[in-house]
Structures are given as C-alpha cells and as structure tokens.
C-alpha cells in the first residue's frame, strides 16, 4: 500500500494522459466510477458536518450566552488543531472497525473546533447594549439567545462552518486509507499500482470539489447573513477562510 517505499522511475503525467483518463468511459461507471466516488465523498463530508453542527452550534451558543466555558471553547480549537486527522483515523480503526465509521470519527472531530470557537465568540461578542435593550423590553434569556444573539452571530458562525466544511472535504480524501471510499480512492489506488495519471486525476477532482463548495458556501453565506449585517466593517472576518488565525491573535 501507500506507506511502503515507492521509489523507482515515475511515469510521466501529461495533460493528454489526464484528459484521456477523464475521457475513458470506464471511469464514469460502477463502484469505482467518478459519480459513485464523488457521491461517497460528498455524503461522507455532509453527514460529518451535519452531525458536528447539530452538536456544536447549540453548545457554543449556550456557552456564549451564559458567558461560561470560554477557556474551554477557545482551547478546544487549539488542542483540536494539534491532533493530526491521520492519527484520529488510525486510532479509531481498532475502536470502531474499518470503513466509514473511523472516517466519521476523524471528520467530526476535525469539524467541531472551528464551529465551536466561532459560535462561542460570535454570541459572546454581541454588543452588551443590544442584549440589555432586549432584556429591558422584557425578553427572556431564551428569546434573547434565539432572536437577538443568534441572528447577530450568523456571519461568524457561518464563517466557522465554512472553515470546517473546507477542511472536512479536503481531509475526507484520507478516508480512503481506512477503506471508507470517496475520491481519495483514486489517490490511494493510483499510488498502489503506480498509476500517476489516476493519482493526479483524483487529486484534481478533490481540488475542484473543494473550491466549488468553497464558492458555494461563500454564496450561501451572502444569502443567509441578515441584510443589516452585510458590508458591516466589523464583519471583515466573514470572508476569511481561516478566521481562527485572528482569534488566536
């Protein structure tokens, strides 16, 4: 497999060989066909992200609302970054077996930190005067959270989800290492039989998918951010794919 020494002469990859690979009808059908591998990749990423969001956004929002656990929320991001996904992947195999399950473990663990940190910070940083006004109007804590704080926090929460989405799609490539399918299959299998064209073609599809989803998320973000918050100078973070960089500063 891949980890073994792979030396020796390398076949050359050319534009024509890659084009021929894509033109080959056999790469568009069956279990190893592009449509199937692409759908596996997307499903793996989407389910992992959905679970991560469902778990993390409420926790981050409540912690931010209460103003508690800030150290926890911020440190999860730092610690999370320190654990290599490849390590989670291979440690999960003896625990949950081979296939999609270890991939979910690794991808969910990867997706949680940016979402948690951003949700916490976004809710926490809502202007104190705004929440005071809401309380003065007789809103309960729950109403303040759902009707005032969360809408105002949307840009930063979405930025966190976008960061996670991007990393998850990229890292889902590694899932092929534990037999979870997806587009990484082409890279792993291509390596195994020294078919550089297949490796390159697989990598190309992952890159295009990641960039396409990134563009799509940017559009979704533009649509979902409340009109009043668009073009607000304070939300320069929303377009940064790596906003935790700023938060760490």
């Amino acid at each position: 497999m891949v980890g073994q020494a792979l030396t020796g002469t390398l076949a050359s990859v050319s534009v024509t060989s890659v084009a021929r690979w894509f033109a080959d009808g056999s790469h568009w059908h069956g279990v190893d066909g592009l449509p199937h591998r692409l759908s596996e990749h997307v499903a793996l990423s989407a389910i992992a992200l959905a679970i991560a969001c469902l778990v993390t956004v409420p926790v981050g929002a409540i912690l931010g609302h209460l103003g508690r656990g800030g150290l926890f929320a911020l440190n999860v991001a730092n610690v999370g970054r320190a654990i290599p996904s490849l390590a989670i992947l291979v440690v999960a195999v003896p625990l949950v077996g081979i296939g999609a399950r270890p991939a979910y473990v690794a991808l969910i663990a990867l997706a949680i930190p940016p979402i948690l940190t951003n949700t916490y910070v976004a809710v926490r940083e809502v202007d104190r005067e705004v929440t005071d006004a809401a309380r003065g109007m007789g809103m309960t804590g729950m109403q303040i959270l759902t009707r005032v704080e969360l809408p105002l926090a949307v840009p930063l929460i979405l930025a966190g989800i976008r960061t996670s989405t991007f990393q998850v799609i990229a890292t889902a490539t590694l899932a092929a290492e534990v037999a979870a399918g997806g587009l990484g299959r082409y890279i792993v299998d291509g390596f195994a039989v020294r078919d550089e064209t297949e490796v390159f073609a697989g990598a190309l599809v992952v890159v295009v998918l990641a960039l396409a989803v990134e563009a799509l998320m940017a559009g979704v973000q533009r649509l979902l951010v409340p009109a009043a918050l668009r073009h607000h100078p304070d939300h320069h973070l929303e377009d940064s794919p790596n906003e935790t960089v700023h938060l760490a500063a």
Partner: protein
C-alpha cells in the same frame, strides 16, 4: 485483518527496543516542521514587505496564498509526486505552501494594527519608510506574527504526518506502519508523540513571545 484483537494498546518492550527509531522519526518530524515554518516565514516576510511597499499587490498575493491553502494536503502531495518524486522537496513544497496564508495574513494584520499616531510620530522624528517598518511596525506586529507562527507550527506538525503517505513524514511513519500491520503500539506512539510535539512547540512559542513582547502579556 481488522478483527477485534486482544492486543494491548501499548507494548512497552517494543517501545524500549525501538527507541533509536523513535528518536530518528521524532527528529525527522521536527526538521520537516522547522524547515517548513522557517522557509514559510522568510517568504511571508518578503511578500509582506512587497505588499507594504506596493499596496495593490496585497489582494492578489493573499488570493494566491488562499488558493494554495485550499488544495487538500493528500491531493497536493499526490500531484507533486510526478514532478518532484518521493522526496523531502515534495513534502516541503506542500508544507511551506500551507504555512504561507496563515503567516502572511497575520503579518499584514499585525502591521495594519499599528496605530496611525505611532506611525506619524516616527515619521515626524525623521524615520525613513524602511526604518519605520523595521524599528517600529514589525516590533509592534510581533504578537500577531507570533500568533501566526504558533498556528502555522501546530498545523504543520499535524500535516507532516500526512507526508508519510509519500514516504516522508517523521512520526507519521508509525501511524501508517502501525495501521498496516494492525499494531496498536505504533499507532498510539505516533499519535501521542505528534500531539505532544505540537503542545510543546506551542508552549515554547508562547514563552518566547512573552519574553519578546512583555507589553502584550495575556492575563
């Protein structure tokens, strides 16, 4: 192959017998990381200087770094292999590429955050633009630069493990070898050491930062 086996998580005598190998891979991991972050920081400083000298350059340079950051690691390494082979060069091109966005963006954020009054005062004292950058702006940007260095280093330590898939990889070797042989000791050893290395590097940077920028001490 992956039936639930009853092997222990760590076989200590294996670790004892392979201390030399552990030291070798750990050292390799450190070298790959230091080289990547060092080269990345040097390139970021040059690019940062150019962006400050000619502002319109900033957006396209950041866009290119962002696009580089956007390429999945395994895909990037895979695409480089036909060009540069299973070499350290392949690993480093990828690793350096990933540090650039983090380092450059934090450098620019730090420089932009220098208060205009400070800049004016220095200019009024007769500082040239270069001297202003080197003596006033860069020192004041150190906290942001260090924040970038910390994130870039920790991220790189994680990414180095992925380069084991192209025959490099330091501690990643244990992850792949342990996984392929279904030998938990190696998997645990590689994971624990990689995380420990990241934590140690992060704390070391935090310590250096506190020394260099005592004014920005965090509570």
């Amino acid at each position: 192959m992956f039936a639930v086996s009853q092997q222990p998580w760590v076989k200590w005598d294996w670790v004892r017998q392979h201390l030399g190998l552990v030291r070798h891979e750990l050292w390799e991991h450190v070298l790959l990381t230091v080289l990547a972050v060092g080269i990345g920081m040097a390139i970021a400083l040059v690019l940062g200087g150019l962006c400050r000298a000619w502002r319109p350059l900033t957006a396209p340079v950041l866009a290119v770094c962002g696009a580089l950051y956007a390429v999945p690691s395994l895909a990037l390494f895979a695409m480089l292999v036909p060009v540069t082979g299973f070499t350290t060069t392949t690993a480093e091109i990828g690793l350096v590429g990933y540090t650039l966005l983090i380092l450059l963006r934090n450098l620019l954020v730090g420089l932009d955050a220098v208060p205009a009054e400070v800049r004016d005062a220095a200019t009024g004292m007769g500082f040239s633009r270069l001297r202003l950058l080197l003596r006033v702006e860069l020192p004041l940007a150190l906290p942001a630069i260090f924040a970038g260095l910390r994130v870039a280093t920790v991220t790189t330590i994680g990414l180095v493990t992925v380069t084991s898939l192209i025959g490099q990889g330091g501690l990643g070797y244990f992850l792949i070898d342990g996984f392929q042989r279904d030998f938990r000791t190696e998997v645990v050893l590689g994971s624990v050491l990689a995380v420990a290395l990241a934590v140690v590097a992060d704390l070391a940077f935090a310590g250096v930062q506190r020394r260099l920028t005592p004014w920005s001490a965090k509570p």
